[in-house]
Symmetry: C2
Subunit: 191 residues, 2 copies
Amino acid sequence: MTINHAILGILSYRPMSGYDLKKVIQDSLFMHWSGNNNQIYKALLELLEEGLVTGEVVHQENPPSKKIYTITSGGLDTLKAWTACAPEPASFRKSFLIQLAWADLLCDDALRELLRSYEEEIRLQLVMAREKIRRGSAFAARSGQEAFLWRMINENVLSSYQSELAWVERVLGQLPAALSGEVCKDEPSAD
Amino acid sequence: MTINHAILGILSYRPMSGYDLKKVIQDSLFMHWSGNNNQIYKALLELLEEGLVTGEVVHQENPPSKKIYTITSGGLDTLKAWTACAPEPASFRKSFLIQLAWADLLCDDALRELLRSYEEEIRLQLVMAREKIRRGSAFAARSGQEAFLWRMINENVLSSYQSELAWVERVLGQLPAALSGEVCKDEPSAD
DNA sequence: GGTGTCATGTAAACAGTTACATGATTTT
DNA sequence: AAAATCATGTAACTGTTTACATGACACC
């Protein structure tokens, strides 16, 4: 459950409530969770039990009250240990590729249309990503190194979309030749 | 549940058992599921109930017997309808980026080491992807168009890894400058 | 009077993984 | 004798999403 680590990371910047965490996660480029309550409030309970955060109820002038969570020194240690551990491989889930794999069933126009709508979809993702970057992080970088890392993270996300976009344009460009039946004559597809 | 569509797609090539499906999915580049029994056998039950496949028990000379599933014309229609529907956006889950986001806690050497091990990880993924491609598909392409699409799918996966690799190398290249503290002076990080 | 924000939480479902269980046969 | 392959399936769990429930206040 990586979301616990993500929450510890956010709380390392400043103490905040579950509600705040939800917004930070939703507005983030690289924290892929939808930011739903269920996961966040459950994670906070777990972190409390493990003593990695403390929770304090703060009564405001007007209700509702909120619970402000603060990372403990144990929490900081756990976070630091996690950041140093061996990275997991990235996972790409592109259900579009599965769609394409069986798209031989479609006629030429439908196939072209399918590729075009995927292209549109990626462009949309790119615009939204850029908008999130434009709005900036909710936090100030704590060091030049951190500012650098954050720029690299933004670049990573953008370059993923750009690579996907370049690919779909390549496919659309090669499609006419492929449809004319001139392609793949000398490419046996099974061994 | 996309795996049902993936299974329909595979069965559109040839009838086979759950066990065979498992292997096809595990050996595939782009079907991201682990190929676990639970999902496959459950999906097959659903497809049976919906009448999209038929199942026939085949007794072999030596046990165990197997159940061979065959796609129905209704199944083919469903598959075709699905291939034509609006594509979902690709989802990239890179827990490494979350790790990097809080990596300010690490010292220079640990950060460099972290990036290097991610680079290694991607290289490994790339090698495994190429190996899967080298072994080839379990099926012969039914048309030149299909052969073309399959090549494009392979290219997509490879270019995703290559883009990720290029990114991590860029980061490693820029790291010395970032660590020397010369970077980001004129880059306020919040708006 | 309806909609939106702040703020907590729960319920139900879907998606996906690991591990277990069985039993025969073949390979090491 | 142990391990791998063929082949079916189940159990338990983690992860993730959508939607619901509550209640005060503010804004249009």
